[in-house]
Amino acid sequence: MNKTVTFRIWRGDATGGKFVDYTTEITEGLVVLDVVHKIQATQANDMACRWNCKAGKCGSCSAEINGIPKLMCMTRMDTLPIDKPITIEPMRAFPSIRDLVTDVSWNFRVKTKIKKFNPRPPDAPDGTWRMQQEDVDRVQEFRKCIECFLCQDVCHVLRDHHKHEEFIGPRFLVYTAALEMHPLDVEDRLPELKQSQGIGFCNITKCCTKVCPEHITITDNAIIPLKERVVDEYYDPLGWLWKKIRPKG
């Protein structure tokens, strides 16, 4: 059965904007992105909206739906109350480009500063490695990330305190964890984590974990173990003493 719904969509750019109401009919089984596309095709040809796969795999259509950071393509209309207008706005932690599209380029710059994968020499004469499935399970969890940046959007260190120069945010802590816990990797990323990448700013409120569409347990499985590694390296008094007195060479 067809129903009528009103979408209250933020229209504007870096200089400012306002919410505009669009009322349209919806059929069974639609997601939010379908309705945005319908409005785009019939009422607002020039409404900017970033999307690609429409299947929750590319992480392009991130937005705030009734105030909650979500993927528009994975939010079913039957999960929303349609008796009142549904607000759709861009991710608020990033600068606006136009309408629902934000400038997420900061994320791409941050990634280039993290030391790349650096494997140990191959295990077999044919140049290949051996790893057990149970040793790669936790890294595979982190590598599910689709880089939708919803975790960055919701993180109060970035969203409210704007620590973009001092803190890399949950996405890149997950990325670093995937590298640090990779069974083959021999690089040391702890000095940067502690200093320029600001892992100490995270006070584990777990907002990032809650919004992750891939259900990655960002805080518990990635950030806390990294924090423990940093603590062990820099703040453990026994470890510190051992490093001072251990025989050199």
Partner: protein, 607 residues
């Protein structure tokens, strides 16, 4: 004046940043030349992320009987022998090295008990051959290449669209395009250009392709003088989602069947047993119990008929639906939940093996695939045809212009095997990057022709110059009409008169597209972008239709109701489409060069 445009100058310009484009850019950069990379979307969002099942490489980790010869023979049999045999040989030989290279760059594949890269069964592959990561292998591939590539000194241009290739005489000289975010035009001057723009599924109404799959590269290359090959061969993947309507076309990975999923009609019958093609009879099981054992890696078992090639499975589904034996929403049932009869903890097993499918159905269709069957039907998935390239170098007939990945043609012949696409990207992406860099080193920079730039700018901006209303319409309706017409008339089952009416329809739509008007600004204006994409969609649709009309037989992805059988004479040529001097599209048949003895022998051995 062209001098008003900001100009970027590269040795090699790669257009497209999916698996093939990234691999090409990495290779060219490693060869020491200056590389620019154009992404239509943000980096790492390309359609490659959608690939699920895996990448085929005869590593023999799970079954040591596998080797390049078996892979080569499987690819040729799947492609019904109109493949470029040279590409099929390179592909089968080089894929294992390319996969190992990904591991060296940080990819984390699923493992065997011995700790090697695990490999899974897939349609048309004789042995378990697909390296995979659950059912998100494409994401692993693109992320690995992205994370490696950003440290290689490649200049990345995100959210840029190329509207025209630029030439100097016969040779390519660069490209002209705009950035989506601001709508500013740019000139990209380059000694060599590699087109890696992927697919064209958006020419159809039901497709697994994202909005980007509008055939840009195929069309850009064609208008720049490159020949197109075998455009009639379109792969309709047998299992797309069909319900609810908003998800229609989204892919349901073949791994569901590889892990033991079965197809049933509304009467509960496994209809795939009804029609097993002769050339697969010796490899296909007629006993359900044996088929199940095959999916559980029993080396002595033959494959179940659900794992026959995609073209065949899609047609069988189509047949069931037309005969009135389909599911409520016009498809058939795909059931993985039944394996609970076979293994304990089946629900957990399914979630571990095909996690994305579990989530996709749970979230989008509110259906638990560990408990209930899915409803599926064919969806436009892949273009076997595309830009004609040299099998070794990926060079087109336009000097300096190269192509790789889905937009290039040859490897897959009339039908692609699942898993052969991701390996195609890395094998031929690498080759394209290597030979484009070589070309750039051996040739001086070419000159940009201001008149070409101005003409391309004027054409791209023209939708803004037309007044709304009156004779003009918006771009979306033209796009929908084209998609519906291609779906109905040049789709999974084809007929002469329907295709002829489609050709006529395309010419009418071209006239409408030339009058399309858009309003508003240049910044991230989707109506304008859709208007620009129309030209590409219309170009590839015309090429598909022209080639499909000529091929009066059924082979692979091209099925004609009026010529339902294979014609041995038609196995001897490829279809070639190119732009005539008067701007019209011309067609010719090109004989397939004879296969060398050593490859003929391989095919004989593997029969």
């Amino acid at each position: 004046m062209a001098t008003n445009y900001e100009t970027h100058e590269y040795d090699v310009l790669v257009i497209g940043a999916g698996g093939a484009g990234l691999r090409a850019a990495i290779e060219a950069s490693a060869a020491g030349v200056k590389v620019g990379l154009i992404c239509k979307s943000l980096l790492g969002k390309a359609h490659t992320v959608m690939a699920e099942g895996g990448m085929a490489a005869a590593m023999g980790n799970v079954d040591d009987r596998d080797n390049w010869k078996v892979h080569f023979a499987d690819t040729m049999r799947g492609g019904q022998y109109v493949n470029n045999w040279q590409m099929a040989e390179f592909h089968a030989k080089e894929a294992p090295t390319r996969v190992h290279e990904l591991e060296a760059w940080g990819a984390v594949f699923d493992r065997t008990k011995e700790g090697k890269i695990s490999q899974r069964n897939f349609g048309g592959h004789r042995y378990p051959r697909l390296a995979h990561v659950g059912d998100r292998t494409g994401l692993e591939l693109i992320r690995t290449l992205q994370d490696h590539g950003i440290h290689q000194g490649i200049s990345v241009h995100m959210e840029y669209t190329i509207v025209s290739l630029l030439k100097n005489g016969d040779r390519v000289a660069g490209a002209f395009g705009y950035d989506r975010e601001r709508g500013r035009f740019r000139i990209f001057k380059a000694k060599a250009v590699v087109v890696c723009t992927g697919g064209l599924g958006r020419a159809y109404a039901v497709t697994s392709n994202s909005w980007e799959g509008t055939g840009d590269g195929v069309s850009l290359a064609y208008h720049a003088g490159a020949e197109l090959l075998d455009m009639e061969f379109i792969q309709f993947h047998p299992t797309g989602m069909i319900w609810p309507p908003s998800v229609k076309g989204i892919l349901v990975t073949e791994s569901v069947r590889g892990e033991g999923g079965v197809l049933r009609n509304k009467d509960g019958k496994r209809f795939m047993y009804d029609d097993i093609p002769d050339n697969y009879k010796s490899q296909t099981s007629t006993d359900p119990e044996e088929g199940w054992r095959y999916t559980q890696n029993d080396k002595n078992a033959k494959r179940p008929p659900e794992l026959l090639t995609r073209d065949h499975v899609a047609r069988c589904i189509n047949r069931e639906v037309k005969a009135g034996r389909g599911s409520p929403h016009g498809g058939v049932f795909l059931d993985i939940s039944w394996i609970k009869e076979k293994i304990p903890n089946a629900a957990e097993h399914i979630k571990k093996k095909i996690p994305s499918m579990y989530h996709q159905f749970m979230q989008l269709a509110n259906l638990d695939i560990t408990k209930e069957p899915m409803e599926v039907g064919p969806t436009t998935h892949y273009a076997m045809g595309g830009i004609r390239v040299n099998g070794e170098t990926q060079a087109t007939n336009v000097p300096g212009l190269f192509a790789a990945g889905e937009c290039a043609a040859g490897l897959h012949g009339a039908n692609r095997l699942g898993g052969n696409s991701l390996s195609d990207l890395i094998v031929f992406g690498k080759r394209a990057g290597e030979f484009a860099a070589k070309f750039a080193k051996e040739n001086a920079a070419s000159k940009i022709d201001d008149a070409q730039v101005e003409a391309a700018y004027k054409e791209a901006m023209s939708p803004f110059d037309r007044p709304a209303g009156g004779a003009s319409e918006g771009p979306y309706q033209v796009q929908y009409d084209l998609q519906n017409m291609m779906q109905a008339n040049v789709g999974i089952v084809r007929l002469q008169n329907e295709m002829e009416s489609a050709l006529d329809g395309i010419h009418k739509l071209k006239a409408r597209a030339e009058k399309v008007a858009v309003q508003g600004h240049l910044e991230y204006n989707p109506g304008w972008h859709t208007a620009i994409d129309l030209k590409h969609l219309l170009t590839v649709s015309e090429a598909i239709t022209l080639a499909a009309i000529d091929r009066k037989e059924s082979r692979g992805g091209h099925f004609r109701e009026d010529f339902p059988d294979k014609d041995p004479a038609a196995a001897k040529y490829n279809s070639v489409v190119s732009k005539a001097a008067d701007g019209s599209m011309k067609f010719r048949r090109e004989p397939i060069p004879p296969m060398p003895e050593h490859l003929k022998q391989v095919i004989e051995e593997m029969k």
